[in-house]
């Protein structure tokens, strides 16, 4: 019941926030496209507005739920996932996962501007080739409950993989960073992750155009690239130079 009320409040402030985000973002893009001193000032002002729009509100929990048919055996898909160190290969927001014990692993996600969010997870139950459940341990930057299920797809089309992950962010700045990482639509991000997993298992690689050759880009295109929700700019430390050179770095 309490959650439902919170939902109404969320929706109202969401609209306000989205307004600030869109207006601010548009002003920033317009400013960038001017390529003048005034334009830069405008871009900065727009950027601040967008930031303040994005800043408000931390959701109480973020639920990601998606599924995908992968043209490979249940055994193969299960094994690939069971080695958690494989996850950052297709989950764009993860920088690193290290297996630290039989059932334990340490996860590090990339936050805005190179911040890092870390948590330890433990497998709480598993059935080989069918299901893995994990949960974060005390002392983590966030709380997470995850489950992945594997079952045969109909028509001999491989494996149906289904993932549900519930993230509860902490309060304060860190919570804001966590909210940023998992995005406005966690299920959308999960779906893209599963697509990359599918490509990796089926085709042996994830399709990409990052780093390809191209003609001269405009400032607007560069800005759009940086804001692309599916391609978080990976900044080592807080190296702002990387963000600024994204124009050349990203296709």
């Amino acid at each position: 019941m309490g959650r439902r009320n919170a939902g109404v409040r969320d929706a109202r402030s969401d609209a306000k926030r989205l307004g600030a985000l869109i207006t601010g973002g548009s002003i920033a893009l317009y400013g960038l496209s001017r390529r003048s001193r005034g334009g830069i000032a405008l871009a900065a002002a727009g950027g601040w507005l967008a930031y303040s729009g994005a800043k408000e509100n931390i959701p109480s929990e973020m639920i990601a739920h998606s599924s995908m048919i992968i043209n490979a055996s249940q055994q193969e898909v299960y094994r690939f996932w069971r080695d958690f160190e494989n996850l950052p290969r297709f989950m764009n927001h993860l920088e690193n996962v290290k297996v630290t014990g039989e059932r334990r692993s340490r996860w590090i996600a990339l936050g805005p501007l190179g911040t890092r969010i870390a948590w330890d997870a433990e497998i709480i139950s598993e059935r080989a080739t069918e299901e893995i459940k994990w949960r974060s341990l005390p002392g983590s930057d966030l709380e997470v409950d995850g489950v992945v299920r594997f079952r045969p797809a109909t028509g001999n089309r491989g494996t149906l993989i289904e993932v549900i992950s519930v993230v509860i962010p902490p309060a304060g700045e860190l919570g804001r960073a966590v909210a940023k990482v998992f995005g406005k639509d966690p299920s959308f991000m999960m779906r893209q992750d599963l697509r990359r997993l599918k490509a990796l298992i089926e085709a042996g690689e994830i399709p990409t155009v990052e780093g390809q050759t191209h003609g001269p880009r405009s400032a607007k295109v560069a800005a759009l690239r940086v804001l692309d929700p599916d391609h978080p700019v990976r900044v080592g430390g807080a190296n702002i130079k990387d963000v600024l050179t994204a124009k050349r770095r990203i296709a």
């Binding site: 599918k198 085709a203 399709p207 155009v209 880009r217 296709a251």
Partner: protein
Amino acid sequence: MKAVCWMGVEKMSVENVPDPQILNPRDAIVRITSTAICGSDLHLYNGFVPTMEQGDILGHEFMGEVVEVGPSVNGDKLKVGDRVVVPFTIACGRCFFCEQQLWSCCDNSNPNYWIAEQMMGYSPSGLFGYTHMLGGYSGGQAQFARVPFADIGPLKIPDGVPDDKVVFLSDIFPTGYMAAENCNIRPGDTIAIWGCGPVGQFAIRSCFMLGAERVIAIDHVPERLQMAQEGGAEAINFDEADDVVALLKELTGNIGPDACIDAVGMEADGHGLPYLYDRAKQMMRISMDRPLVLRQAIMACRKGGTISVPGVYGGFLDKIPFGQYMNKGITMKTGQTHMMRYMKPLLDRVQRGEIDPSFVISHRVPIDKAPEMYKTFRDKQDHCTKVVLDPWANVAQA
């Protein structure tokens, strides 16, 4: 290297850009020997397809020599030194769709799947030199190109067959052929084809290959209609016909063509109020498409007939006579071309001398002239039907 870049609506420019590099293990780099401008590039030139970005390298009809292969490319299929034609669709070869030979529906070749998903619900395969919604891959109107999943798409070409005869295996010949195959032609059938551009021309010849008795071609560019007649078709100039649908009915004893091919797509030209209505909506960006041809095809097609649509459409179509479509029991088949189904069999036909695809070429120019050729081709000036670019020609010679 030199590359033809889209710098904005009706703004093409040849730029010096870095050479492409291998980015993924199944990539190859091809040194391009021949490359063409396609009618579908004109939709981009005219700015009617969203998600283009300044600096995009266009071109999806190219061939050349493999100069580098990634570590995971199957060496039995492709190696350095091979002469290849590269299909315009990119396919992984391993997903459900590739296994069904639905190559242009490949699930794993569009890195921007999510954009297409947001706009269309699902994504088709990635394409070379097209929109970012379809991958944003740098294209082949350049001196070199990066080719992903290189052991699946590129078709090896034996020495001795000149580029001009095989370069169109990259798109328009298979596209015209699939358009004809999608008509479910039975011996004796009559097929009407709207659009006598290069795809229409190949569709005309493919219809006859597949057993059609009559092909009726509709366009208003005199040299294209003449080329259609040379291919064995009867020609209708829609500038001179009052009512194309009525004329088609008359020409077929009031039965209608057994199948209709829309080789025009989103930028149809025409006359009268419906045309002006489409045009105005497109100018106001209310609609991406002018579906004049599709409406005529539905109205003209015989009961229980087939409509095949190789023409490119962008989004939601307006004023489609769906009641007629339903009540007449028409079947429609569409899609980007499933290239790898057709390339080898069509190469065999070329080698057997059944067809010489070079008949569509009207212009051969150095790549530096590409920007002006886009305009010439778009405006159908100078009897332009098909432009082939030489990426290495010295401009001074031309």
